[in-house]
Symmetry: C2
Subunit: 158 residues, 2 copies
DNA sequence: CGGCGTTTCTTGACTGCTTCAAGGGAGCAG
DNA sequence: CTGCTCCCTTGAAGCAGTCAAGAAACGCCG
């Protein structure tokens, strides 16, 4: 649960104007990592009594462009957002339920790993994005996939 | 350039019926790795004089489901396909022009790396998908980004 | 070799996520 | 407080991909 004043400071530091929609969305992303845009619209509307669809899309774009939030999009999922930036962490994604879990990066700084040995032709690599695919505890024990289209959500209170 | 008979054998081995659309699409994916669906429709239409939109989507779905082709989708790109499967290789993606280059995996077998040390909670990881982001030779030397929306393509003849 | 059942392709329409565009409203410097 | 600039609202459109019904093709079998 981030301090509103701190969120405001983050916006100013990034050279952005401080508006209620931006504070609401930024707070929502902090509190609920890995939500998709639709869910973030809902989360923002619990903070403000009204905010448009489009405003949330605009805000998310600005926040990602300035690096205040990070956008992730595993195969078969819509765009999701998280506020944990700067550290070079990765994600585990459950193939069945779609839940996303953060994993720390071993080496720390980006790019945490370089293309191994032989192959890097003339590429200047600045980031290695890693997604670990597998199955979470509950989906690994329960044999059949419960949900058809995975609707990932965080562990915790909505 | 794969042998048509070999492609046919691959289809049969996977338990699929051999049809001209499937041979055309599968050949196109072999010859032109990392193409998107629209481009593959075009490539298939150079092999067959007519094939529908929908057929290509269906074929690609079946081929991915059976593991004959692999689907990749870097951030901000539409779905792309490649026929190099089985080896656990990864990709370099240029942030500017969007070109995709294969990189061999150091360790070989999937999952080539496990979530580092501390964090894997109850997850059974079976694959680690790695995308290296950076800039290719020409985009690294040329300062400004030439293309707005990246239109990745392979190096080679179309 | 030819018929039949099942799978697959064609045609056409549609969904859902995301973006474009124009105008009124809000933040912030002076 | 005033004005400039940027941001949010409203409404509509774009695009990749999907759904659905019927025709055509594959391939098993006699």
């Amino acid at each position: 649960m981030p301090d509103p004043a701190e969120l405001e400071r983050d916006l100013r530091t990034a050279g952005l104007r401080v508006t209620r929609p931006r504070l609401a969305v930024l707070d929502a992303v902090h509190v609920h990592p890995h939500l998709d845009t639709e869910a973030l619209i809902g989360a923002a509307r619990t903070r403000l009594e009204s905010i448009s669809h489009q405003a949330v899309y605009d805000v998310l774009r600005v926040l990602t462009d300035t690096g205040l939030v990070r956008r992730i999009q595993p195969q078969g999922s819509v765009a999701r957002y998280e506020a944990r930036v700067g550290d070079n962490h990765h994600h585990l994604v459950c193939r069945d339920c779609g839940v996303i879990v953060d994993v720390d990066c071993a080496t720390g700084a980006a790019p945490c790993l370089m293309p191994s040995g032989d192959a890097p032709p003339d590429f200047v690599v600045d980031e290695a994005e890693v997604i670990y695919w597998g199955r979470c505890r509950s989906c690994a024990t329960a044999p059949a996939a419960p949900s058809t289209t995975a609707r990932p959500a965080e562990r915790g209170n909505p």
